[in-house]
Symmetry: C2
Subunit: 212 residues, 2 copies
């Protein structure tokens, strides 16, 4: 679906990259137990994948275990975190500080994982200058400068659907290459930019196929 | 990632099914313009996919256009909506009526698309019996009977992560085959059940790969 033209493993299909965070989460859960090693069979059962698929996915990134011995969990999770860049902190900005934007700003799941919302923007004059979740709401005209000054690399879009494309064009023009989009609308981005949609409606619509 | 063992086109990969709602959304947008026909090239540009990928995806479901003529938009969108079962209404229940559950219940994007939340459950005695967004909060003990009585086929999980697996086991035991999960946790479901995760953290983690 999306192009991937700037990474260390140029032949990794995006569908594999999309699965890596699931591996990280599952393996991190396993670290809580007293297991040290996991087989592709066991990991497959937990993730509803075949062992062959798991071995193939992981083989893109190196050799993580010896044949028949399973993967050392702690080593594997650290390697995958490194592949995904999760050992670093990432600064984000959010555009759209309405009801949805406020909910995303107050969401407590990002910060502990190293994703920090550092700036908030809106074009509603009644919101600009207010403080939301500790963030001072800025006019969108300050986007480019703020991205540079605060070393922001991820943009979060929480504007209404009709405004989303315009906002994303502006983010892309300001140099952002990763966009998390909450607006329920199809969007067009140039090659080299990655976008993920948080869209529960699309998720529902892809399950009814199996319900008919 | 997920098994697909009950559908009309048994060989369709799940990754294709996941893309169908995106086609429907894009084509529906196009209907607003005065175009009647779209080529796989044009559709590909809008969705950031190759024309070959689009032709292959659509070929699973029949012949939608003549070689070199493009696809008739209105016909194609209706066919895909039918493939996905979107011409019907689907009843959902939600388990977990805390802050997140309340936000999902009040989300206005589901209803116009035929997804109706018909019942709400919680195990918090202080919530049971209250009314949230027009829904009477029921104890989880009434789940199975309510699913039957109200013809519910989709379960929405908005409980805290540590409770999610227990709730999903109960949904599956009650006969639900489609689950939309908002809890940020890995979950285990049996074959034949489909789950989609609404998890912005996983989305962010799959983009940092390209940012390193």
């Amino acid at each position: 679906m999306l192009t991937s033209n700037q990474n260390n493993h140029p032949k990794v299909p995006e569908v594999v990259v999309l699965r890596l965070p699931l591996y990280v989460r599952e393996l991190t859960d396993m670290l809580q137990s007293d297991k040290n090693v996991v087989s592709s069979q066991q990991l497959g059962e937990r993730l509803q994948m075949t062992p062959a698929q798991i071995r193939k996915d992981l083989s893109y990134f190196g050799k993580f275990g010896k044949q028949g011995r399973g993967y050392p969990i702690s080593f594997l999770v650290n390697q995958l975190r490194s592949v995904l860049g999760l050992e670093k902190e990432w600064n984000c900005c959010i555009i759209g500080v309405g009801k949805l934007g406020k909910a995303v700003i107050s969401y407590t799941g990002f910060n502990p994982e190293g994703f920090n919302i550092r700036a908030a923007f809106d074009d509603d004059i009644s919101l600009i200058g207010q403080t939301v979740g500790g963030l001072y709401v800025q006019p969108i005209t300050e986007l480019e400068k703020t991205i540079r000054d605060k070393d922001i690399s991820i943009g979060i879009v929480t504007v209404p659907a009709p405004n989303a494309q315009k906002v994303i064009d502006r983010m892309v023009a300001s140099g952002l290459k990763s966009i998390l989009n909450y607006a329920p609308v199809g969007l067009h981005i140039p090659p080299g930019v990655h976008i993920r949609h948080v869209d529960p409606l699309l998720s529902l619509q892809s399950m009814t196929y199996y319900l008919k």
